[in-house]
């Protein structure tokens, strides 16, 4: 699920236009390229060309009928649709046993009934709250240490050391400290998100162009004005990159901590289902996590589009 959310951002947008737009020109060029006149020996076939050494460029013929390409999104949908179809057929024929993996139709049905009786919604809210709290905590720590010299002196070195420790390795210690209540999850998520946000925000703040700081001095911006008008807006792109990493990581940590010790949340729901062999509920949980990952990534992207309009590329859209 992590890689899904990450891979999607570059893929969908950047690759989007390229193949569709280049393909027609490429094919248009091909036939003419064959008839390209390399006029080393200018024959009668090459009228009105320049002297020896000149080349007639292959340009598209405007009258050439072109095929309407299949829309990009439709072609992209093909793979997933095929996968689901195989899955459904496998389940229906009994090739995929129900206790190994429930069929898509069963999953859909279970998902609907879980949503209808409120089980899904309640647990989802609990999971979301954990992530939101952890994120808020992590972002605050990162901002404070990024903006203030004292914060940097106190926080930076320990952060760089602690960064080497895998967060999930702290789970046993966290359980000893906090028991199995809400605090463990919030603590772990906060810790996990603080690092990417901190590192990116910190780098972005330090990377703010010194010439702008100079300008701020010449127009008599105070320290607060400097932070508000120059440093924060300048660091915003880096912060958003960090936030995006943080979101994916936070879901990852949430999944693990909810499955290890919890009495509520999507992960708990899945863990319960495991004990009773209810593969349909497990798949529903997976789907919910996946959708949450996609949604949160889309949210940050929307935020980027809104706040970074000043970048020429984004403005042109």
């Amino acid at each position: 699920m992590t890689s899904l959310a990450l891979g999607n951002r570059g893929g969908a947008d950047d690759l989007g236009a390229a193949p569709g737009s280049t393909a027609p020109t490429a094919t248009a060029a091909a036939p003419t390229a064959a008839g390209q006149t390399v006029s080393a020996a200018p024959a009668a076939a090459a009228p009105a060309t320049g002297g020896p050494g000149s080349v007639t460029l292959a340009l598209a013929d405007p009258d050439r009928p072109r095929r309407r390409p299949i829309p990009k999104w439709l072609r992209r949908l093909l793979g997933p649709a095929l996968l689901v179809a195989i899955w459904q057929v496998g389940s229906s024929t009994g090739w995929i046993r129900e206790d190994v993996l429930a069929g898509p139709w069963t999953v859909l049905h279970t998902g609907y009934s879980l949503a209808a009786d409120g089980t899904l919604g309640d647990n989802l809210v609990i999971s979301l709250r954990r992530v939101a709290l952890g994120l808020a905590l992590g972002v605050t720590v990162a901002l404070v240490s990024g903006l203030f010299q004292l914060g940097e002196d106190l926080v930076d070195a320990p952060v760089q050391i602690l960064r080497a420790v895998p967060i999930l390795g702290l789970v046993p210690l966290a359980i000893v400290w906090f028991g199995i209540g809400e605090e463990v999850k919030v603590f772990l998520v906060a810790l996990g998100t603080a690092f990417p946000v901190y590192i990116n925000t910190f780098a972005a703040i330090r990377g703010v162009d010194g010439r702008f700081v100079e300008l701020a001095h010449t127009v008599r911006l105070g320290r607060l004005g400097l932070i508000r008008r120059v440093v924060l807006p300048g660091a915003l792109p880096g912060f958003l990159v960090g936030l995006r990493f943080a979101l994916t990581i936070s879901w990852l940590i949430l999944v693990v901590s909810e499955q290890i010790n919890a009495s509520s949340g999507i992960g708990y729901l899945m863990d319960q289902a495991r004990t009773f062999g209810q593969t349909d509920i497990i798949v529903v949980g997976l789907a919910v996590y996946g959708v949450l990952g996609l949604l949160s990534d889309a949210l940050v992207r929307l935020l980027e589009r809104r706040t970074l309009v000043w970048r020429r590329g984004l403005e042109a859209r």
Binding site: E214, A216, T218, V219, W310
Partner: protein, 270 residues
């Protein structure tokens, strides 16, 4: 008092900027005495004395690396390691070689950056109109052309009604045609607002066309400092112009093999 580069340039005796006292015998707007600056043991400024009267336009020429920008930065209060004495008007403004507009702020917000007047917005709008950018208030800096961006930077400087305008090769990055238009714009603006101006440039023609006085910085000292005595419209073919140009070029150590061509490459009129 602005430059206030803490203890080293003790200049807190703020001279009241007399914006309308057109370069009279009164106290100068800028007073520099024995300013020194060294970088890693190399003395870039070896004791500079310079006065600029209120409303006077001084062009400072020098070869690259001669320290002319260093002097400007000292006067702008951006260099706290210089020694000596410098007194500048309380309100000053700087235009850098790059427009230096905050890319994340719209043009109008860039112009009124740091302004604390109640009518800052109206002033900024007026300043933009004055430099010919009326209607572009809400544009993003990335959408401006080089000349437009530099005009916005000029508006940002003028809106502060500075007693001293510091220009650090402001037209160096512009194409020749835009530069000509910027020259006449700057001339108009200075005539209207009458700030004391220090223009740092390496363009001799630009200096003679715009300034009331030209100075040359050589080996850390002002090796030449004289008024431009060309009344009215200045033209490159004016004998006084050519003579001064030749003298300045010699001072800068350049062999002027273009002298015969006169106003060859870019004909400019005042």
């Amino acid at each position: 008092m602005t430059a206030a580069p803490a203890p080293t340039v003790p200049s807190p005796t703020a001279t009241a900027p007399q914006a309308h006292a057109g370069g009279g015998a009164s106290q100068p707007a800028v007073r520099v005495r024995g300013v020194r600056r060294e970088f890693a043991g190399r003395e870039v400024l070896a004791g500079i004395d310079l006065d600029i009267a209120a409303g006077e336009f001084v062009a400072l020429l020098g070869r690259s690396g001669s320290g002319k920008s260093t002097l400007l930065r000292i006067l702008a209060g951006l260099d706290s390691d210089a020694t000596g004495q410098a007194t500048v008007p309380e309100r000053d403004a700087v235009v850098f070689q790059d427009p230096r507009l905050l890319p994340w702020a719209r043009v109008l917000d860039n112009v009124q950056l740091g302004l604390r007047h109640r009518d800052a917005r109206a002033r900024a709008t007026a300043a933009l109109a004055e430099v010919g950018l009326g209607g572009r208030e809400r544009a993003w800096p990335a959408t401006l052309s080089g000349g437009e961006a530099q005009r916005a930077a000029l508006a940002r400087a003028l809106v502060r009604s500075p007693g001293l305008l510091l220009l650090d090769e402001p037209f160096g990055a512009l194409d020749a045609l835009t530069r000509i238009r910027m020259h006449s714009l700057l001339r108009d603006l200075c005539r209207r607002h009458r700030p004391a101006v220090l223009l740092v440039t390496h363009d001799v023609d630009e200096a003679i066309l715009l300034a009331d006085r030209v100075a040359v910085l050589t080996d850390g000292r002002l090796s030449l400092d004289e008024p431009v005595r060309i009344g009215g419209a200045r033209h490159r073919s004016d004998p006084t112009f050519t003579a001064l140009r030749a003298r300045l070029l010699t001072e800068l150590g350049v062999v002027d093999d273009e002298a015969g061509e006169g106003d060859g490459h870019q004909a400019e009129y005042c």
